[in-house]
């Protein structure tokens, strides 16, 4: 087998050195009746070529060659080949968590840079070395708010990504954490009237997403004020991190939970991505996840180490701030490289292109009779449209044109049937936007 570096005679020599006759003897501690006597029923072994063929066949069964207008938490943005080439260097790809700092300075330096970039983007003071993704980062941010305030109720906007809310519900269920959902207004923003009626005094935090699941930018300064006046924190989640190129960062938030997939990470059918938690310096000891910090060696040279580990499970066990161990270091590195490449000007330009293209798409699509915008709030690169018939039916017809249409919202919001969420990024050529509009127009002109 090509991955195994021993010849049969080397195996014999090693067995002899150990003093056993066969490898079977090394498994003597496994009770006889539990030892497998027949080979596992697994496909393979396959050669490298056959493995590639298997996966190419699977790729051909997917949406290769389709134009997609899906966003909703996962975005198609430009990616440089540079980031992907660097993360495939064995020194990054095949290294472990940098506990042995002297021979992990590459990873530690990159994490320190990642933490810095995340602070610059979010307007927060500290950021950790990564979480699994946006959904779990949000859950951890809420648990952190619970620890910081000692309160066991949170007010979560219904405009937070539905799957993020589902993850939170799974974790909250057994921890005695009450989750109250707050609806949305005609603007598509959190309904402040409903908020004023909620039990804000009992709440650990108000939790909002901005831009929210409908693409609408929330009024964070006002929400922060309301939260702080009641002794609660403001937890903000960002699913579309590319918005930070032009959208004001959530500086008033006490904890920011972000999905970093937009920074050069492919959609890859849902993962791996990279979550981030950023917060105020005074809250750092309640933060989950690893942190890299700067220090010096005996000769005064600058170096980096994992620090404040007494928050973590390998030291504190059941008293840790989280059970997280493995994080998404390689994709934090990919995001770091991507952000260094695109840089200050490029990130802004990219965000401006998203804004312009989404606006053009909204204009083109709302020219179609019966199609209109649902929410009046300001948007970045996503918006909700109402259609005169089921979005699923429209999408089925669009698939025949090799177009993946708007995300049907009825699945997560029963009151929003016939509404769909459209996303347009900088990667979408104008001609494809026009093709979508023409195709939908034609579909709607065809009687059911």
């Amino acid at each position: 087998m090509r991955y195994l570096p021993k010849s049969p005679s080397e195996r014999e020599e090693m067995l002899e050195s150990i003093g056993v006759d066969s490898v079977e003897e090394l498994f003597q501690s496994i009770p006889e009746k539990f030892r497998l006597r027949k080979p596992l029923d697994l496909p393979g072994p396959l050669s490298e070529m056959e493995i590639i063929q298997y996966f190419q066949a699977r790729a051909a069964e997917n949406a290769r060659g389709y134009t997609s207008f899906l966003g909703a938490g996962v975005y198609q943005h430009v990616r440089s080949v540079v980031a992907d080439a660097i993360i495939q260097r064995g020194e990054f790809l095949t290294s472990y968590t940098p506990y042995q700092a002297e021979i992990s300075q590459g990873t530690l330096t990159a994490i320190f840079e990642f933490q810095t970039l995340m602070c610059q983007l979010t307007g927060q003071e500290v950021a950790n070395a990564s979480m699994y993704d946006g959904s779990t980062a949000l859950t951890e941010a809420v648990l952190m708010a619970e620890r910081l305030t000692g309160k066991h109720r949170v007010l979560v906007a219904r405009t937070v990504h539905p799957e993020y809310r589902q993850v939170l519900a799974t974790y909250a269920k057994n921890l005695g954490l009450e989750v109250d959902e707050i609806g949305y207004a005609k603007s598509g923003q959190l309904d402040t009237e409903a908020l004023s009626k909620a039990k804000l005094g009992e709440a650990a935090a108000i939790v909002v997403q901005s831009p929210n699941f409908f693409g609408v930018i929330e009024e964070l300064p006002a929400l922060a004020e309301a939260a702080h006046a009641a002794g609660a924190l403001l937890v903000t989640t960002i699913a579309e991190a590319a918005s930070l190129g032009i959208v004001r960062p959530p500086v008033e938030a006490d904890i920011v939970a972000m999905e970093g997939q937009s920074f050069g990470i492919p959609p890859s059918y849902g993962g791996p991505y990279v979550g981030v938690i950023a917060t105020r310096e005074k809250f750092v000891r309640q933060m989950p996840g690893r942190l890299a910090g700067q220090t010096t060696d005996g000769a005064g040279r600058r170096g980096f180490v994992l620090t404040l580990a007494t928050r973590e499970q390998h030291i504190r066990r059941e008293k840790a701030t989280s059970n997280i161990c493995t994080n998404e270091a390689l994709y934090a590195l990919a995001a770091t490289i991507h952000l260094c490449l695109i840089g200050k000007e490029g990130l802004r330009e990219l965000a401006l292109q998203n804004l312009a293209k989404a606006r053009l798409a909204a204009a083109e699509l709302t020219k179609i009779p019966g199609v209109r915008r649902v929410f009046s709030g300001r948007v970045f690169n996503e918006f909700v449209l109402e259609f005169p018939r089921s979005v699923k039916l429209i999408n089925a017809a669009l698939l025949r044109e090799k177009i993946i249409g708007p995300l049907p919202l009825g699945v997560h919001y029963p009151e929003l049937t016939k509404r769909g969420l459209v996303c347009v990024t900088e990667t979408m050529p104008r001609a494809e936007i026009e093709r979508l509009a023409a195709a939908i127009k034609k579909i709607l002109e065809t009687p059911l």
Binding site: Y3, L4, S17, P31, D41, L42, G44, P45, I51, I52, F55, A57, A59, N62, A63, S68, G73, V74, S80, R89, S95, A101, E102, I103, S104, G106, T107, E113, T116, Q120, A129, Y132, S135, H161, E163, T170, L175, I246, V247, P267, S268, Y269, G271, P272, G298, H314, R316, A320, S322, T326, N327, A329, L330, L333, L341, G346, L347, L352, L355, R378
Partner: protein, 503 residues
């Protein structure tokens, strides 16, 4: 620097694996930044441009991002390439971190994960145009069920710790459906730190149980502790001292008699794959770390994947969605009323999962040979180091061996010192100070990826360090001597944390 290297070489003529190489100095990327440079360009905008303040509202837009880097493409390449050379990696040599299973990460896995039609796919796209992704998930589930001997699977958890939590939530939901979720989960003192941390998030109390003199679960002790308040026992098998729990079936029976379940932390599955199956020896639910046994790269700390495998009785409680197959068509089923819910958005770390499938397909049933070689390597190293180091538990080792620093401590040399000295010999350190039941633990897991030659080099290095600990303990205590930076001041780092660059 030069004088130091000479000193090291004189002190240890046994250093055969590592050589000398020029290593570039490099600052932080922010220190290279200058206005107007950039490393990526976009195609020109093909629609009318828009004023952001007007479109977003003046209060919602931002100007430039202070301190954000402005560097060219070549500077980015050089920066990250230079700092990469400061890392040790499996691709450079043996990485004997016990409990971490640092095996070869096949390159073809990286290739297939990047194929157009796989890397490009959106998790919310319709099932009709996701049949390839869904089949990959389904095929991997089938393989993992066969390897573990279990009945039902979820691939959604994205790390071992999340797998633990998911398994515990399933246990909780199952017991709740029987009328009583119970209060406690038993954890042996040799367990990974994630076990107790996960128990707490699942809403249970941790009850630690002591290992017996053989480092195994004491079944008398277990009988005493396994009251009707106990929901489950979390066992790592082989245990963290690398020894198979010989009485595992009895352990399972004790729990089952009292209505509790047996959870297995599958971190050490690399000792078992193809040889024995947890489902056959009484385990009810377990997780696998695909970034350990199934070769997906650690990437400096992640991503991972922590699929959960369970017996039939726990199937209704799997997280949603579940990948299902009907007449050769695949779909995601979210309509499962007894489910514990969702533990992560979408279907988990798909890109990690497909790498694990690529690994499994490469071996097929031959995965047993990998297990045998891993156990062979560990025993070979054990045999050849037994005379130099203290072996606290003289029991048959599987994929890893745990020594202690008891002998070297007499000279004031501890496990961390020896680990750091290994760096000078060209190796990554073994795992230090874990498991907690072994004072001064030196936990060595070579994996199957090491040749006899690499194992011999490691043995020579360890023996040489044992001699140095006798003859020149100072040399070991001040190691490493060959790295860019010496031992770093961790106390200062924690006392006055500097967690970001500032101009």
């Amino acid at each position: 620097m030069n004088s130091k290297l000479t000193e090291v070489e004189t002190a240890a003529p046994g250093i055969r694996k590592a050589g000398r190489q020029v290593n570039q100095n490099e600052g932080l990327i922010f220190e290279k930044s200058a206005p107007g440079k950039r490393g990526m360009e976009l195609p020109p905008l093909d629609v009318p441009a828009i004023d952001p303040a007007e479109a977003l509202g003046a209060g919602n837009s931002r100007d430039s991002i202070e301190g954000f880097p402005e560097v060219s493409e070549i500077e980015v390449i050089r920066h990250f390439t230079r700092i990469s050379t400061w890392n040790y990696a499996i691709d450079l040599g043996m990485y004997p971190l016990g409990s971490c299973t640092m095996k070869y990460n096949p390159r073809v896995n990286e290739h297939v994960a990047r194929l157009d039609g796989l890397a490009s796919e959106h998790p919310a796209q319709p099932a009709d145009v996701s049949q390839g992704c869904l089949r990959i998930l389904y095929d991997l589930q089938k393989c993992l069920l066969e390897v573990t001997g279990m009945d039902a699977a979820t691939l959604q958890p994205v790390a071992g710790a999340q797998g633990e939590l998911t398994g515990l939530l399933m246990i909780r939901a199952y017991l709740q459906s029987q009328g009583n979720a119970r209060k406690k989960v038993l954890i042996p003192d040799s367990a990974h730190g994630t076990n107790p941390a996960s128990v707490v998030i699942a809403g249970y109390e941790v009850q630690n149980i002591k290992s017996n003199a053989r480092g195994q679960i004491d079944t008398d002790h277990l009988r005493e502790f396994a009251t009707e308040d106990v929901a489950a026992l979390m066992v790592t098998n082989p245990s963290t001292i690398g020894v198979f729990e010989e009485r595992i079936a009895e352990i399972a029976a004790i729990l089952h008699e009292r209505g509790a379940l047996l959870y297995m932390d599958g971190a050490n599955m690399n000792a078992l794959a193809g040889v024995t199956r947890p489902g056959d020896f009484g385990v009810d639910v377990m997780h696998l770390n695909l970034h350990k046994t199934f070769s997906t790269p650690h990437g400096g700390g992640g991503p991972g994947a922590g699929p959960v495998l369970a017996k039939k009785i726990l199937e209704p409680f799997l997280p949603v969605p579940v990948v299902v197959e009907k007449n050769g068509r695949y779909a995601l089923d979210s309509n499962r009323p007894q489910s514990v819910g969702r533990v992560r958005a979408y279907c988990g770390n798909f890109g990690v999962l497909l790498r694990a499938l690529a690994y499994t397909l490469a071996y097929g049933p031959g995965i047993r040979q990998a297990t045998e070689d891993a156990v062979l390597n560990a025993n070979y190293i054990r045999k050849n180091l037994e005379e130099s180091f203290d072996l606290p538990y003289n029991l048959p080792s599987m994929h890893e061996v745990v020594f202690s620093d008891a002998r070297q401590k007499k000279q004031g040399v501890n496990t961390m010192d020896i680990a750091k000295r290994l760096i000078d010999y060209g190796f990554h350190p073994y795992t230090t100070a874990f498991p907690l039941i072994v004072p001064g633990a030196m936990m060595i897991e070579p994996t199957e990826s090491e040749s006899k030659e690499e194992c011999d080099l490691f043995i020579d290095a360890m023996r040489s360090i044992a001699i140095e600990a006798e003859t020149n303990p100072e040399l070991v205590k001040t190691a490493p001597h060959s790295t860019r930076v010496g031992r770093l001041d961790e106390v200062a780092a924690a006392r006055k944390p500097i967690l970001r660059w500032k101009p």
